[in-house]
């Protein structure tokens, strides 16, 4: 039985619309399977991995029903017929709000900066 990938809808522009990719080889680990996937569908790679090769923080890889975060990461072993699902982590939508401030919002929020606010310097309101 070949190893297969389940592809989420946002990545299907890079799999010719296919939701399932069957690998020809017999990868022993998730990392090997991903390398085979990149060879077939190179556009998926940059959406799943960061530049340094780590899986993006809000992308989940499951082998069967197990999240590879808890089974050895990319070294997670595969069996004949393993199914790997690429899924957007449920944390993503929430984290988008929490961890990515809008672009203008780059100033320091607390501590010394707040002490130097106009009001703290007696410059607030109506100057």
């Amino acid at each position: 039985m070949p190893v297969t990938f389940r592809i989420p809808a946002p990545l299907r522009p890079f799999t010719a619309g296919r939701d399932c990719i069957r690998l020809e080889g017999c990868p022993a680990t998730v990392a090997e399977a991903l390398a085979e996937l990149w060879a077939v569908c190179p556009g998926v790679r940059d959406r799943v991995l960061l530049e340094g090769g780590a899986v993006r923080p809000h992308v989940s890889l499951f082998v069967g029903t197990e999240d590879v975060r808890f089974t050895g990461g990319l070294a997670t072993p595969l069996r004949d017929g393993s199914e790997i699902a690429i899924l957007p982590a449920v944390s993503g939508g929430r984290a988008a709000e929490a961890s990515t401030p809008p672009p203008g919002d780059t100033g320091r929020r607390s501590g010394p900066a707040s002490l130097t606010s106009p009001s703290a310097r007696g410059r607030g309101g109506g100057i």
Partner: protein, 398 residues
């Protein structure tokens, strides 16, 4: 996902590119700028922090940096006003694998000079400058800045360590300015090979040394093409002008309710005129006194006056972010800004009062105004020559 409404853009239209935390919207109007047709959302669910229009060399190209929390930040282009977008297999903006950092966000897309129509710039987080010499087909990291010895000491602000502003000098093709939060202003005089901090006179209230060589949290800089040695700067506390190409800066925060704010736009036809939106303190970041006001100087910062007509002046605790204001190139020029509350305002055709163009948008983080091609001949109500003539169309800011 929502269906995307398209706009029918014509030659001579004014186009507003509006990036929000949940996608991009396009607004079009003829040169009269009285009625606006809305399109979008493009990239629904993605944060579009940076947009640009490239009308050089006969193009009609829109650029957008769209960030997905799951799949990362992508750079996309459209040559048909949003009906289709490029989605290249390999991410065009990416750090080298051995760099030890990953792209978090695209903060700025900036076409190069009009006489260099194949060059584009892209500002990224973590702070880095990417350059394309083939109209955006391929991009490369500018090593002179990414390997700068100061880099390790730049500190992220609340939005991350971002290179958010790129200003190709209007006079000198070898000169380029960037602004980094929190690194300050850097200038290259050799086409990007080397960079020097240009922050003399700019405060850093949050550091023990209030006037360091670098490390300031500069929010926006802007240059007028008719007087390129002059730049205006909105700082994290502080409003400045330079008349020597950024070598020195003088405080011009006289007559404003707060010297804190994000956007700064120069008038496209008058180097003495600039616009800001003061916010009350970095701890609050809302419009002072609950009044939404744009402030204008017409004397290079010697004095500032509010432009409040048509804007809410009661219980308006608004915020306008660094790239959420822009001007078009027509004469009289139109000025536009968007709020975090999703309201889009315009002051067009020399009108005295702001008009609400749209409400109910997601939080607006980017507004770019563009003139599409050559302006159409418009006729006034009595057959008078039209308003909305272009000026300096060949030099264009974007």
């Amino acid at each position: 996902m929502p269906s995307v409404r398209q706009v029918a853009v014509k030659e001579g239209d004014v186009l507003l590119l509006v990036g929000t935390t949940k996608g991009a919207f396009l607004f079009r109007s003829d040169g009269a700028r009285r009625r606006w047709e809305a399109g979008g959302p493009h990239f629904p669910g993605r944060a579009v922090y940076a947009m640009a229009y490239d009308g050089r060399a006969g193009r009609r190209r829109i650029w957008a940096g769209a960030h997905s929390m799951h799949w990362g930040a992508g750079l996309h282009a459209s040559d048909d006003f949003g009906r289709t977008w490029t989605n290249p297999e390999a991410a065009p903006i990416r750090f080298p694998e051995g760099a030890g950092v990953s792209l978090k966000q695209i903060w700025q897309i900036r076409p190069g000079r009009a006489d260099d129509p194949e060059t584009l710039y892209c500002g990224a987080e973590p702070a880095a400058l990417f350059v394309s010499g083939d109209a955006g087909q391929t991009w490369s990291l500018e090593p002179g800045l990414s390997e700068h010895p100061h880099r390790a000491r730049w500190q992220p602000g609340g939005g991350g360590l971002c290179l958010h502003t790129i200003v190709p000098d209007a006079a000198d093709p070898q000169r380029l300015f960037v602004a980094i939060s929190s690194g300050g202003v850097y200038r290259s005089d050799d086409g990007g090979a080397t960079w020097r901090p240009r922050n003399a006179g700019i405060r850093a209230d949050f550091l023990p040394d209030k006037h360091p060589e670098f490390g300031q949290c500069v929010h926006k800089i802007a240059q007028h093409p008719d007087r390129p040695r002059r730049l205006f700067l909105q700082n994290h506390f502080g409003l400045y002008r330079s008349d020597d190409g950024g070598d020195t800066w003088v405080d011009i925060a006289r007559g404003v309710p707060s010297d804190f704010g994000f956007p700064l736009v120069v008038h496209p036809h008058d180097p003495d005129t600039a616009y800001i939106v003061p916010l009350e303190s970095d701890g609050f970041r809302c419009t002072p006194e609950g009044k939404l006001r744009v402030y204008r100087t017409a004397d290079a910062g010697a004095s500032w006056r509010p432009l409040a007509s048509g804007l809410p002046q009661r219980d308006a605790w608004e915020c306008v972010l660094r790239d959420a204001m822009d001007a078009d190139l027509l004469d009289p020029a139109g000025l536009y800004f968007g709020t975090r509350s999703g309201q889009l305002f315009g002051l067009s055709s020399g009108g005295a009062s702001w008009e609400l163009i749209a409400r109910g948008l997601p939080p607006i983080v980017c507004v770019r105004a563009a003139l599409v091609g050559a302006p159409r001949a418009l006729r006034g109500p009595r057959g008078a020559p039209a308003r909305g003539r272009p000026r300096r169309a060949a030099r264009g800011r974007r």
